[in-house]
């Protein structure tokens, strides 16, 4: 693998829309390995932060920097959206699409698509229109479509929302496998159990800013702020 | 799929080819509706190897087409307009070919009683007195101009008429359709009337007066005005239209046993 695109540094990042501050100012640095979990109440700016990192959200101030030029960095990240976006094509064609954009050789595309179809257990649905899949199947397909390019960094926005236990396990297994292959993962979730299972470090978002951040053990074991403690208890935070 | 559509389109486009010499002749609706063209055009094609493409329009538009140089010649029936056309230099000269006649059509019951009129003017006076529905072409065609001239002769002006006088602004056939629908009086050329397929309650009520004769003339567009016109073909056609062969075909053309046109082209 070429030199990592990490670390990622956010300086003074803010997103404002129609005079309302949705995010920031945020100053943050993410190291080269591990899985970062972002938690926080609804509307606290998790998605906005994730999109800002990925570079698909227009910033009002500040900058997002990788260790390599932006152009290069962009090609080595992938993003799974909160509501999975299915191309109006077959399941296999959805997997093929990101590789076709790279103009990879046909044979290689075919091999990778077959591999990923097997990994997400959708071989039998390969020729089905992707928009007809169930919610859980769509999530798995979206993750496979993101990982099929072997990105250095994978962003996931609540990949397990609305999924049952088994589907959640299946997705966590995919993520674990990606971690083992040294993929850097940054994801949001509302499932605190999942957060504890996967996180190597964590960020707590509140009112558009990073309210607390730290390594997983410290973050979940000894929260520093009252608000995070309250959030763990499931209280409503003012 | 796009490829298939393209292939199909190309196949269709190439399907028609052009071979013979072609010229464009603007004629009046009444001439076209007479059916005479169906007899003359094949003969012209046979004798001259010439494809005459007919633009069927009103006299007004036919003259405009000639002025603009969009046709090579015109065959119309409105003497004053034709003479002006030549005087203004749009046509080389005016050549009379043949004539037919106009007839008054109306409800078979003839509520205005025009069938017994002594002249065309009297027939119109009776109509304006009874005020039954009357359909006028209203399209500046030769027929329309003739109708207005007849009203003037009768000492009446349509502008002063009430709602019973309807200008439809349409061709002969369409106007006859309207008249049939309204059970109205209308001035038509005999040929159009005989060929009309939808007479409903209408009947021929008055005809034969000399004032109703309708002279057709051929005018070649002046090549000095429009260098691109096929004047050579127009001259050929004029020669043919004034020939013995044309005379026989025109005089011999009948519908339901009735002769429609009388050839009267003089030598040049």
């Amino acid at each position: 693998m070429v030199s990592s695109i990490l670390p990622l540094t956010l300086t003074d990042v803010a997103v404002r829309r129609r005079g309302k501050t949705l995010l920031g100012p945020v100053d943050l640095s993410l190291e080269a390995t591990g899985l970062t979990i972002i938690i926080g109440p609804n509307g606290s700016g998790k998605t906005t932060l994730l999109r800002a990192m990925h570079g698909v959200e227009r910033l009002s101030t500040g900058a997002v920097r990788w260790s390599v030029p932006d152009e290069q960095a962009q090609h080595r990240q992938a993003y799974v959206f909160q509501t999975p976006i299915m191309l109006r094509r077959s399941v296999a064609d959805n997997l093929r699409y990101p590789l076709q954009l790279l103009r990879l050789p046909r044979a290689e595309i075919g091999a990778r698509v077959a591999d990923w179809l097997a990994r997400i257990g959708l071989e039998e649905r390969a020729s089905l229109q992707a928009t007809r899949l169930s919610g859980g199947e769509k999530q798995r397909l979206a993750i496979a479509r993101a990982l099929i390019r072997r990105p250095d960094v994978l962003f996931l926005d609540e990949p397990c929302a609305n999924l049952d236990g088994a589907s959640t396990r299946a997705i966590e297994a995919l993520l674990q496998a990606a971690l083992d292959e040294k993929t850097r993962i940054i994801m949001t979730t509302h499932d605190l159990g999942q957060a504890r299972r996967l996180a190597s470090d964590a960020i707590f978002m509140l009112h558009g800013v990073v309210h607390e951040a730290g390594s997983a053990a410290r973050f979940f074991g000894a929260p520093c702020t009252e608000e995070l403690e309250a959030f763990f208890r499931g209280d409503i935070i003012a | 799929m796009i490829h298939r559509i393209l292939a199909l389109a190309t196949a269709v486009t190439l399907g028609t080819a052009v071979l013979a010499e072609e010229m464009k002749l603007a004629v009046t609706t009444s001439f076209e509706n007479s059916g005479l063209a169906d007899v003359l055009l094949p003969a012209i094609k046979e004798d001259l190897g010439l494809d005459v493409q007919l633009l069927v329009v009103g006299t007004g538009q036919a003259l405009r087409l000639g002025q603009a140089g969009d046709v090579d010649a015109i065959l119309v029936h409105s003497r004053t307009a034709e003479e002006a056309f030549v005087a203004e230099g749009y046509g080389t000269h005016r050549r009379e070919i043949m004539y037919n006649d106009f007839v008054f059509i109306g409800p078979a019951g003839d509520p205005a009683g025009i069938a017994v009129a002594g002249s065309a003017a009297e027939a119109l006076q009776r109509i304006s007195a009874a005020e039954p529905a009357f359909v006028s072409r209203g399209d500046e065609s030769g027929t329309h101009k003739k109708e207005r001239a007849l009203w003037a002769e009768a000492g009446l002006s349509p502008e002063t008429f009430g709602a019973w006088y309807r200008e439809v602004g349409a061709g002969m056939g369409a106007s006859l359709n309207t008249a049939a629908g309204l059970d109205a009086y209308i001035l038509a050329d005999r040929a159009s009337w005989l060929n009309f397929g939808n007479p409903a309650g209408l009947a021929l009520l008055y005809s034969g007066a000399p004032a109703l004769f309708n002279q057709y003339a051929f005018l070649a567009v002046n090549p000095e005005r429009h260098s691109h016109v096929r004047h050579d073909l127009a001259v050929q056609l004029e020669g043919w239209l004034t020939s013995r062969r044309a005379a026989d075909l025109i005089n011999g053309y009948t519908i339901n046993g009735e002769t429609l046109f009388i050839f009267n082209a003089g030598p040049e």
Partner: protein, 234 residues
């Protein structure tokens, strides 16, 4: 009622005897409208897609203009094309007036805004759906257009068919610019107008039925060719 029955009957006979005139007129109708369709689609499909995904300075204006043009009465288009192509008009030297080419030009002008507008509507929806993903995947502008056109092909087909329907059924403009010349520019719609004028309703109706059958036939054939009917999510 009797007219309709007569019309059906003569339509039937015209078709089963493969009447030469009918065949020629129908083929010309197809030739003119399909050519116009291909040209208009080549302009309108990319244009509509571009309007959906690109933000440029006169985008709003272009869209309003398209919507306005969509409502253009065909006769007005016919008149304008007529004046342009007339020998005394600016494009007179081309000598195109009263030719099938003139009819194609008029039809292209009539249906391009329609196709572009429907394309724009459909592509805007699809773009809203795909936007984030295509940005995230670092697609180039051209790749985006291709993806949208491919995945929206069924909508584009509908847009094109709407254009075709309008073109083949149009009479006002092509009557003016084509002149309804027998054996040269007479098509189904102008022939219908002519026969109606002569009071020959049966023949007019027969031609009308042929026209309807042709329009339906083309629709079915194109759907079948593209085989989008079998799958698809609608």
């Amino acid at each position: 009622m009797n007219d309709i029955y007569d019309g059906l009957l003569s339509a039937f006979w015209l078709v089963v005897t493969l009447d030469a005139d009918l065949l020629e007129i129908s083929l010309r109708s197809l030739q003119v409208s399909l050519t116009a369709l291909v040209i208009a689609s080549a302009i309108a499909l990319p244009l509509g897609t571009l309007l959906a995904i690109r933000r440029f300075r006169y985008r709003r204006l272009t869209i309003s203009l398209l919507n306005a043009l969509m409502g253009l009465p065909p006769v007005v288009v016919g008149l304008l094309v007529y004046i342009l192509l007339s020998r005394s008009g600016p494009l007179g030297v081309l000598g195109l007036l009263f030719t099938p080419t003139a009819m194609i030009i008029a039809q292209v002008i009539i249906i391009t805004p329609l196709i572009a507008s429907i394309t724009h509507q459909a592509m805007r929806e699809l773009w809203a759906e795909y936007h984030d993903l295509l940005i995230s995947l670092n697609t180039s502008g051209w790749q985006r257009i291709r993806t949208l056109i491919w995945d929206g092909r069924r909508n584009l087909l509908t847009a094109s068919l709407a254009g075709f329907g309008r073109a083949i059924g149009e009479v006002g403009a092509i009557m003016i610019v084509g002149g309804n010349i027998d054996n040269a520019t007479r098509v189904l719609t102008t022939a219908i107008a002519l026969e109606t004028g002569k009071g020959d309703f049966a023949l007019a109706l027969a031609l009308g039925f042929v026209l309807i059958a042709l329009a339906i036939g083309i629709n079915v054939a194109i759907h079948w060719l593209s085989r989008t009917e079998r799958e698809g999510r609608w």
